[in-house]
């Protein structure tokens, strides 16, 4: 094991230099809260939406099958908002995240009956 790298900065060790990455708040919808210890919001590090969601599902593995499909893509009925903007209209999972931004996961509740049978 090599020497552990300290955080960058003046070299002074104080509470401000203990974390180099930033944490953002992710709001969790009701049906996914059982996977986050009933928390309605969690703090996760990351610089893009994709990274944040990756870290979120690494931390709370039970979320993964409900957020991503078998091909590893975000499910179509899972909406992710950066503050009040749907990431589909930004740069999707490559959307950059700034300190203080809030990410919301909001379900698209949809359904219906079987398509019309062919005559």
């Amino acid at each position: 094991m090599g020497p552990r790298k300290r955080s960058v900065g003046s070299g002074a060790r104080g509470p401000r230099d203990k974390v180099k990455t930033m944490a953002n708040k992710i709001l969790i919808p009701t049906p996914l809260r059982p996977f986050t210890g009933k928390q309605d919001a969690v703090e996760v590090d990351g610089t893009t939406i994709g990274e944040l969601l990756g870290n979120l599902t690494a931390q709370y593995a039970g979320l993964k099958p409900h957020l991503y499909n078998e091909q590893g893509k975000l499910r179509s009925f899972v909406n992710v908002y950066l503050n009040d903007e749907d990431i589909r209209y930004l740069e999707k999972e490559k959307t950059a995240v700034k300190p203080g931004d809030t990410i919301s996961i909001i379900p698209s509740v949809a359904g219906g009956n079987e398509p019309e049978s062919k005559n």
Partner: protein, 138 residues
């Protein structure tokens, strides 16, 4: 059917009435309560653009509204209901593909503008199927 969802008096009628009002289109709405007891329903607009006779969609802003409303009432968002006009009260593959865990999904069949069976379902943990639960009056 190990699990059961209980409905306070008037809830089942409110869901049936909504299904009749929107017939031949699908209705949809939220179920609010606690500990498997539905105390309030919130009828919501069906915003699908894929044909409301076969589909429903609750827009994210309405989802957020009912989740906040449940919190305001010191209750939980328990799930959602919708109608199947002229189809049985059984979930479709489309319902399954769009389901979330832990939510209760109530379906009312409306045949020729007359409400018939009402059922309730929950998603299996592995997302492979819905499991039917019992629907009871409280």
């Amino acid at each position: 059917m190990a699990e059961s969802l209980k409905l306070m008096p008037g809830i089942a009628d409110a869901i049936r009435r909504h299904g009749v009002d929107t017939y031949p289109n699908e209705c949809c709405g939220a179920l609010i309560g606690a500990d498997g007891l539905v105390e309030h329903v919130a009828p919501l607009p069906n915003t699908t653009e894929e044909g409301a006779r076969r589909r429903f969609l609750i827009r994210p802003s309405d989802y957020k509204f009912v989740e906040q409303e449940a919190t305001r009432l010191n209750r939980e968002l328990l799930g959602f209901y919708h109608s199947h006009p002229d189809h049985p009260a059984r979930p479709s593959q489309y319902d399954l593909d769009h389901a979330f865990p832990f939510f209760w999904y109530v379906i009312v069949s409306v045949q020729q503008a007359t409400p018939e069976d009402m059922t309730v379902w929950r998603l299996a943990d592995d997302r492979s199927q819905f499991r039917e639960a019992a629907l009871q009056d409280a």
